[in-house]
């Protein structure tokens, strides 16, 4: 009963938060674009040289690029890439961060001290340097990008989960679980973890926004998702040369990034406020 009540309360609080609702709508819309729209759109690689660099018009709402490809179609397909990168990268970061933080926080003491030192070390690196170095040494495929964004993004989540575990492990229900003979792993993952997950939800939502930005920055530098696969970052850089004459090539992909990242950020902040009303503004 209480669980249901808490959930209803959570949803009600989310719906009352106008900015969170906006964020949710943006995120849902991007999902819609990514999953449904490609079936209705033409091939994003369809080249039509007779229509090179045509400005936005009823036939091509957002214009065409230097090969006559429809910008809107490519943005819609780019949404799938952004979504994929965001979710997989943050999925990897969350799994590592949650497991790492849970083990450090549960065992505490020396284990914790040593494990957290590694987190401190990882946090010293300018993340973008680290990502750049690894991507350049391997090769800039979309899978490498997702993995490396995940591998360099788990530290914040690990710290949060550890802090939750340090306080939760002192609670009576943990003692009770131990008394009835629950193994450490069972206590960690079945008993404590569910109570420690809500801050992870917030961090993951905000993290997706960060991962989308990072991927677009990498693509912008030419070492992200490689053409001809359309990603918002590589469309943006492709339009750089013709910025003066064909502004729509860079402008609209940038807008897509801005709006999507905004959506995830608003949603993430909304979830945070709804989970913890004390923080609410």
């Amino acid at each position: 009963m209480t669980v249901i009540w808490v959930q209803q309360n959570f949803i009600a609080r989310m719906l009352r938060n106008r900015m969170a609702v906006c964020g949710g709508i943006i995120v849902l819309f991007m999902f819609f674009l990514a999953f449904v729209a490609p079936f209705f759109c033409q091939d994003p690689g369809a080249i039509d040289v007779s229509r090179r660099l045509s400005p936005p018009s009823p036939a091509h709402f957002l214009g065409t690029d230097d090969l006559g490809r429809d910008v809107l179609t490519r943005i819609v397909h780019g949404a799938r890439i952004s979504l994929l990168v965001g979710f997989v990268a943050i999925g990897i970061a969350s799994v590592i961060g949650v497991t790492y933080g849970a083990l450090a926080g549960y065992y505490g003491g020396k284990t914790d001290a040593v494990m957290m030192r590694l987190v401190d070390i990882m946090l010293c690196f300018p993340t973008f340097f680290l990502i750049l170095a690894v991507i350049a040494l391997l090769e800039p495929s979309i899978w490498n990008i997702m993995i490396i964004i995940g591998l360099t993004g788990w530290m914040g989540i690990a710290r949060m989960v550890r802090a939750e575990f340090l306080s939760l492990r002192e609670r009576d229900f943990v003692l009770a679980a131990r008394v009835v003979g629950g193994s450490d792993l069972r206590i960690i993952f079945r008993h404590i973890l569910p109570s420690a997950l809500s801050p992870v939800l917030v961090a993951a939502t905000l993290g997706i926004a960060g991962a989308i930005l990072t991927e677009s920055a990498l693509s912008f530098l030419g070492i992200g998702v490689q053409p001809p696969t359309p990603s918002w970052g590589n469309m943006l850089i492709a339009g750089k040369q013709t910025l003066g004459t064909a502004w729509w090539l860079s402008f609209f992909p940038g807008c897509a990034i801005l709006v999507t990242v905004l959506g995830y950020n608003l949603l993430g902040e909304g979830v945070r406020d709804a989970l913890d009303p004390r923080l609410g503004d």
Binding site: D120, L123, F125, P126, F129, S216, N265
Partner: protein
């Protein structure tokens, strides 16, 4: 105080070792050998030369031995020679690029503080006002804005279309012929866009942070006391509240160092600024291993130094930290 600084310095040693270890592992993740680029791409290279290079870089020895040797050279600040055609020492290459990057980042931090602090204060004391709500929306847009996109648009608008500002490098062509005042203004004009762009991302975060700090402080009892004893509101906010709300900002400044350094890759590439970020990007593109390793380690050490400075500044500013048992 000295003991506190000494203790902090000691704590940095394991971190430094960890940093070098991770940098070393990252570089050795790469398939093939670091010398491949020099040898395989070049058909004139004989097997003999290849072997000599392998010996020179100790590629015939086990990984751990190589790490030990590299660490030994690092201790005397020897990062090796760049693979680029100039074959210069990595240390010299990095050191000559460092000042530009540090200058731009310091200016960016200055801009962030000058704009974000007042913005955060006003938003906090006029909570839920029109001003507060509009800055909140601006903050979210600022968070979501891809800085490279903004840079491109501003370059096109201000640089190309209206010709108001230069869009690449940090000096004009005729820089040598200018007087000292002219040189200053020339560099200043070149720096406006890069500094604004690199400040932009931090602006949103800092003003938001300042606002929530201020709100938290205003809610505390000593503010109530200050008001109760009849102090004017300016003194309550400007002195009692502000001082306490500014303190945590020091830590956040320290924490934002890696982000700023990392971000320098993007804006230095866009604006063709000869700084550390551009050096790193070029090195990455050419697979210049000694350079990549050198910059990776230097970037992390700079971050460590930034954090240390922030902690020391915090201890100086806040007697509660200085006198707490944990810090002695």
């Amino acid at each position: 105080m000295l003991r506190y600084i000494f203790r902090r310095l000691l704590m940095m040693i394991p971190l430094l070792i960890g940093i070098t270890l991770i940098s070393f592992i990252v570089i050795n993740l790469a398939p093939g050998e670091p010398t491949d680029l020099q040898t395989q791409m070049n058909p004139d290279v004989s097997a003999e030369y290849q072997q000599r290079l392998r010996l020179q870089y100790d590629l015939d020895k086990p990984l751990l031995v190589r790490y030990g040797k590299w660490l030994g050279r690092l201790a005397v600040l020897d990062f090796g020679r760049s693979f680029a055609s100039d074959h210069r020492l990595v240390r010299d290459k990095v050191l000559e690029r460092l000042p530009v990057t540090i200058m731009i980042n310091l200016l960016a931090i200055l801009v962030i503080l000058v704009v974000a602090i007042p913005l955060g204060i006003v938003a906090a004391i006029r909570r839920n006002s029109f001003f507060d709500k509009s800055t909140t929306i601006l903050v979210f847009i600022g968070f979501a804005m891809p800085s490279f996109w903004l840079a491109l648009l501003l370059m096109d608008l201000l640089g190309v279309r209206y010709g108001l500002l230069p869009v690449s490098g940090i000096k004009s062509l005729g820089y040598e012929y200018l007087g000292p005042v002219g040189r200053f203004f020339d560099v200043a004009r070149h720096l406006i866009l890069p500094v604004l762009i690199s400040a932009f991302g931090g602006l949103a975060g800092f003003s938001r942070y300042m606002r929530s700090n201020m709100l938290e402080v205003i809610g505390q009892d000593f503010i109530l006391t200050a008001r109760a004893k009849g102090l004017p509101e300016q003194v309550v906010i400007g002195k009692h509240a502000l001082r306490n709300a500014l303190l945590p900002l020091i830590t956040i400044l320290g924490l934002s160092v890696p982000g700023l350094i990392g971000g320098s890759v993007i804006f230095e590439t866009i604006f063709a600024i000869p700084g550390m970020g551009k050096l790193f990007y070029d090195g990455v593109m050419m697979r210049d291993y000694p350079l990549i390793m050198g910059v990776l380690v230097m970037g992390a050490v700079l971050t460590l130094a930034g954090n240390l400075l922030a902690d020391i500044a915090y201890a100086i500013a806040d007697p509660r930290i200085r006198h707490s048992p944990a810090s002695r």
